[in-house]
Point group: C2
Chain length 383, copies 2
């Protein structure tokens, strides 16, 4: 492993693709053209065998690593992606794209509907996780990549990883789903529904048709606050905040005064600056509707795949508890697929997949090395 | 134990008390008069030694058991209170009152401020759990009861129980705190803050001054929905809802379609018919501010008390996890107080204290019998 380094300044690129006959969605509707925002780091080798797709969670974007010009913070998984890092850009060509239905450059409910010249709003089709993945496939095709060395992501990213594995097994050499589930439990659906209701309760929401006026910021902020509670753990909140009160706080004042309240407010208020409320609705609904097993058993769908699988979960994650993630491993084993499971001891809760960089780096580095070398050996045989 | 029966029709009574010098609150402000809504079941014995106070949680009221005329549902703890039940009204005189700050008959933010002739709204003083208990003490005094045989309640009820124990040890013979905490963790504060923010984000809230117009129903409904998720458990939600969809639900329709969503909507919408949004703000803030140990250690405050303590927790309760409730037992032991701890194996989550009637009845019946008999023995000695 070389010295770890930063990707430095990176830039989001955009590609608009109009598949013949349109881009067909699971709901039966079509989008004539989809625009995909993506970033790519490292170099694609001559054989095009070193490409890794990174897929993001609910609120992520194409900027997975490196700094946008002028930005103070790097991409959302910068600790994992770059020269000498887990997804080593000295070795691999790493692609990251914004999901379909998002609001960070890829076509979504805030995009202009060509039929009306106005933003889609609620008239945007109810996209699915499989649609998001089909959209990523357009990008992968566009980049001329036949088979991805790996696809990896956590949370809803992990759902996309599972979709790649079941729907496009011939296009992936390996997958790394992290802190995710085959399908949402009622508790996960319930938390998402509360977020959606908070947005739709905001009078500025206007049934999704708010793009000419003030956006439903307060509702979206409440949704994000609920989210943040579920991303942390009881223990990590105790460690971080305790019952600490903010400076000059008066316990008998009605305003929020605990540190933990300030944290939630800060994140709620920041989120509305960078996220579209309708995207929040569409994406959470796609998560809730997702079922990697498609109503049957996952192991039946996985039969015949020769992809290698590394599954990672975290002990204190109660939003996507380890028992859920472990079900993926069980399905792989039943399908005769080589799967490695690792449950990392962390107190960070669901956020752990973004924070436990050292442990994840160790696992990912060795897994990818094995898969990549195996691939090269097989390529030699094919020649 | 006799045959279990219903209390039948019961009625809430109201008493207005104006203590000399006013009712002093912890925040330093005074209420000239407090009105207390209460119910009482069973008969007070001649020695006045068989009175038990039942204290309710966030959304409860004085109607703990029996039916109000025309009501289809009985009081909130009907399974526990009545002839032959855990709190046996054939033996004990059971009192239940609505808390200060509430909206079910006891003085609260929706009450008329005598100084203005209008509802208090946010000008209502920021009451504490200790204030609620001091208000209950007025009622107990009014009823001529020197020493309560027991005080019992779950959740925020348990906090009131702890306040009785630390602040008025000479007025309680025993206490039964259930599914509660010495103080809120940051996670508990965070969930409450999300509920408050949902209410305050509702444009109808009008800084609490909404009594002349439409109330902030959508915000209060979202707050209640968040609450309901935390009252159940991952397992109980799976058992109850699974991923069942409502009849005729279209997976590609944007409206809520999972059963669990319907459940949350139903409870959110019903709650706003019976609860005041400002009371929700004041009561949750009182819970967050509460610290039975008053910044020090609980066992120091408990020293010298001769009350008997029965502490009950439930395994799947993640809102008030058993480890928190157990801290009460530890403090009792350190203070040399006789405390019994029972952790009931239930999948119902926090709701278990309202649902696991059989187990609780068993524990409460035997505990009260022991305490009551002990009390009679001591009375004999005193004669």
């Amino acid at each position: 492993m070389g010295q770890k380094g930063s990707l430095g300044i990176v830039e989001t690129e955009y590609v608009s693709i109009s598949p013949p006959g349109g881009f067909l969605l699971e709901c039966g509707r079509k989008l004539e053209t989809v625009t995909i925002a993506y970033e790519a780091y490292g170099k694609l080798n001559r054989e095009r065998t070193n490409a890794i797709l990174i897929v993001h969670a609910l609120s992520g974007d194409a900027n997975a690593a490196g700094f946008h010009r002028g930005a103070r913070k790097p991409g959302w998984w910068d600790g994992m992606i770059g020269p000498g890092k887990g997804f080593d850009t000295d070795k691999y060509f790493v692609i990251s794209s914004n999901i379909l239905g998002g609001c960070k450059g890829t076509t979504g409910p805030s995009s202009i509907n060509p039929a009306t010249g106005k933003p889609y709003g609620l008239s945007f089709p109810l996209v699915s996780v499989h649609d998001m993945v089909n959209c990523q496939k357009l990008l992968v095709d566009h980049l001329g990549i036949e088979k991805l060395l790996s696809v990896s992501g956590g949370s809803m990213g992990g759902m996309q990883v599972l979709s790649w594995l079941t729907r496009h097994p011939d296009r992936v050499r390996s997958v790394i789903p992290i802190s995710t589930a085959i399908r949402h439990s009622p508790q996960q659906i319930a938390f998402n529904e509360v977020g959606r209701q908070a947005i739709m309760a905001d009078m500025n929401w206007e049934s999704g048709d708010y793009y000419d006026g003030p956006p439903p910021d307060r509702g979206l902020s409440v949704a994000r606050m609920v989210g943040h509670i579920t991303y942390m753990s009881d223990a990590s909140m105790r460690d971080k905040f305790g019952r600490q009160r903010k400076d000059c706080a008066d316990p008998f004042k009605f305003d929020p005064d605990f540190e933990v309240e300030g944290y939630l407010h800060y994140h709620g208020e920041n989120f509305v600056k960078r996220f579209d409320a309708n995207s929040y609705l569409f994406i959470t609904k796609a998560m809730d509707n997702f079922d990697a097993a498609e109503g049957g058993s996952l192991h039946e769908l996985l039969k015949g795949s020769d992809a290698k699988v590394l599954v990672i979960a975290f002990k204190s994650d109660w939003l996507y508890p380890a028992y859920q993630t472990k079900e993926i491993v069980r399905a792989c084993k039943l399908a005769g697929i080589e799967a490695t499971y690792c449950e990392i001891d962390s107190t960070y809760g669901h956020d752990a997949f973004l924070l436990e960089i050292e442990e994840e780096t160790h696992l990912v580095t060795h897994f990818l090395k094995k898969v990549y070398n195996g691939y090269e050996v097989m390529s030699e045989y094919a020649v």
